[in-house]
Amino acid sequence: MSNLRAVYIIWYRDLLNFWRNKGRLFASFIMPFLFLVIFGTGLSSSMFLRGGGTQGEGLNYIQFLFPGIVAMIVLFTAIMWGVSVVWDREFGFLKEVLVAPISRTAVAIGKTLGGATIATIQGMVMLIFVPFVGVSLSLGQVLLLIALMFIFACSVTAMGIFIASRIRTMETFQVVMQLLLFPMFFLSPALFPVQNLPSWLGALVRINPVSYGVDSFRQSILEPTVAMSDFGMSLFGHTMSIPEDILLVALFGIVMVFLAVRSFSTQE
């Protein structure tokens, strides 16, 4: 019971701090917006992704790209939330948390839920671009997407927090995250379809957990528009469904939460 209250207040504090820093909310949209509008529009003008077999069915590049950009903002926000742990350490607040009579599991879970909530909110705001990229979403699709975003965000936040718990300074965290973030983003189906990749690149994409998150987003957003078998992820020749995708993401997340809890428990 006391641990539940602790999870709640740790989550709540993260949201408070996020809300106090509204400027960051807008700043964090600049990158995805540029990607979507400039990169997307630019490539759309000369690229069309043809669906397999049947004629006329296919995707504008910007339609293809949109779920990838939603994943991008969720990924970036979630992983960067680890910075709050480093920040708390540098400004001393982490001590207040670590010396409190609550389990380290509660601390790791509270932080994970906080970062995941914020990343999900950021992802939801991206949905205002839906009408401009030429896709339509039903209410059911939106709810499914929010659930997928939240699970994906939890996994990635847990990873960010685990890494942050081993890092002492902001500078190191920035460098480590840049080193991780861009490979994780580029080695996913966010920017390009993965069907015809050379095998070395295909293999890297398939061991990247972010790929399955992106794939689940894309399926939930585009499924009615186009048959996903042409653009989806496949593993050992099997085309991944949404539940399969998100299950892999969740498994990755559980491992990361476990590592984060263990890391917090050995903090001195």
Binding site: R5, R13, R20, E90, G92, K95
Partner: protein, 331 residues
């Protein structure tokens, strides 16, 4: 009296550096217990072990009857902490900081508001409760941390250098709170400091240097160890003065930047005798009662204000800060 803290043969090593070297002591319920020593002596390391933030290399410590390694949560519930380094969320208001604390310490909703108001009024921050802590002065932040440390009614309040970096007026103010608090709440206060005058308010003081307790007693008893009054002479020729004092009075005088100094009983009567037949020219004479500074000097052979004096201590301190995961000043 009940023992609230019991420490037996506590040792903490960071790689090759022994930060805490086999210390044992007990603190009684309701007393103000001072830990006095230079930076890097092992004060904060000891506190970190007592408040479960670090595990000892060997030895045992019990707080309110709970083992600090095996019964961490019970220990944590029994203590309030004011850390040496700030530990507030400066982006939140005082109320929000205290609210967070109330939740993680599981203070029931019914009494939460009342208690928060009580502690904020006590440290005179009630009027500023909605201000973001970023806009607080150093003294206000410290007061808020003390308020927070008391919010869950701890049995022991740890104050690690509570007035470090504050101006004298604010220091004074904060001490008024702490003393007043002890009167009202019958709480045990464990404080560390390297200010001698602060340690003097304690009921008992442990003097710690290079990880070892070298004396543990009441401030008065410690002062008595120095013996008499301290006379300091500024002379034309210090060497000659020392020789002369030794020759006539069999007193071993010492030198420091202030001049020649020595201890003597009844200095008021001694000084006229000395001056009457002293051959070396004297520029000035000063006399003072022994302070804890003198106790420290006498016991350790070095002064507490030398910032732990020299290279070895600097490296010690640096290694300990590194091990605690704080950005060091020497990096």
């Amino acid at each position: 009296m009940k023992k609230i803290i019991e420490v037996e043969h506590l040792v903490k090593r960071f790689h090759q550096i022994v930060a805490v070297n086999d210390i044992s002591f007990e603190v009684e319920e309701g007393e103000i217990f001072g830990f006095l020593g230079p930076n890097g002596a092992g004060k904060t390391t000891t506190i970190n072990i007592l408040c479960t933030l670090m595990k000892p290399t060997s030895g045992r410590a019990r707080l309110a009857g709970f083992d600090v390694v095996r019964q961490q949560n019970q220990v944590r519930r029994s203590i309030g902490l004011v850390f040496q380094d700030p530990s507030l969320d400066i982006r939140l208001s005082a109320l929000q900081n205290l609210n967070f604390h109330a939740f993680v310490y599981n203070i029931p909703g019914k009494v939460r508001k009342k208690r928060i108001e009580d502690v904020l009024r006590m440290v005179e921050l009630w009027d500023r409760r909605k201000d973001v802590v970023r806009n607080y002065s150093g003294g206000m932040r410290r007061r808020l941390e003390i308020a927070r440390g008391l919010l869950h009614y701890p049995k022991v309040l740890f104050l690690d250098e509570p007035t470090l970096g504050l101006d004298p007026q604010t220091r004074h103010h904060i001490w008024d709170y702490i003393l007043d608090l002890r009167q009202r709440e019958s709480i045990t206060v464990f404080l560390t400091t390297h200010y001698m005058d602060e340690a003097a308010v304690a009921d008992r003081i442990a003097i710690i240097d290079y990880g070892k307790i070298i004396a543990l007693d009441t401030p008065d008893a410690l002062k008595k160890r120095v013996g008499g009054d301290i006379v300091t002479l500024k002379t034309e020729n210090d060497e000659a003065a020392i020789a002369e004092i030794r020759h006539h009075y069999s007193i071993d005088a010492q030198r420091d930047s202030e001049g020649v100094f020595f201890e003597v009983q009844n200095a008021e009567e001694f000084i006229p005798l000395l001056v009457n037949k002293f051959n070396t020219e004297i520029h000035s004479i000063s006399l003072r009662r022994p302070t804890l500074d003198d106790v420290f000097l006498k016991l350790t052979g070095h002064q507490i204000r030398e910032e732990a004096g020299g290279d070895v201590a600097m490296r010690r301190q640096w290694a300990m800060r590194q091990a605690r995961g704080q950005p060091g000043r020497f990096r």
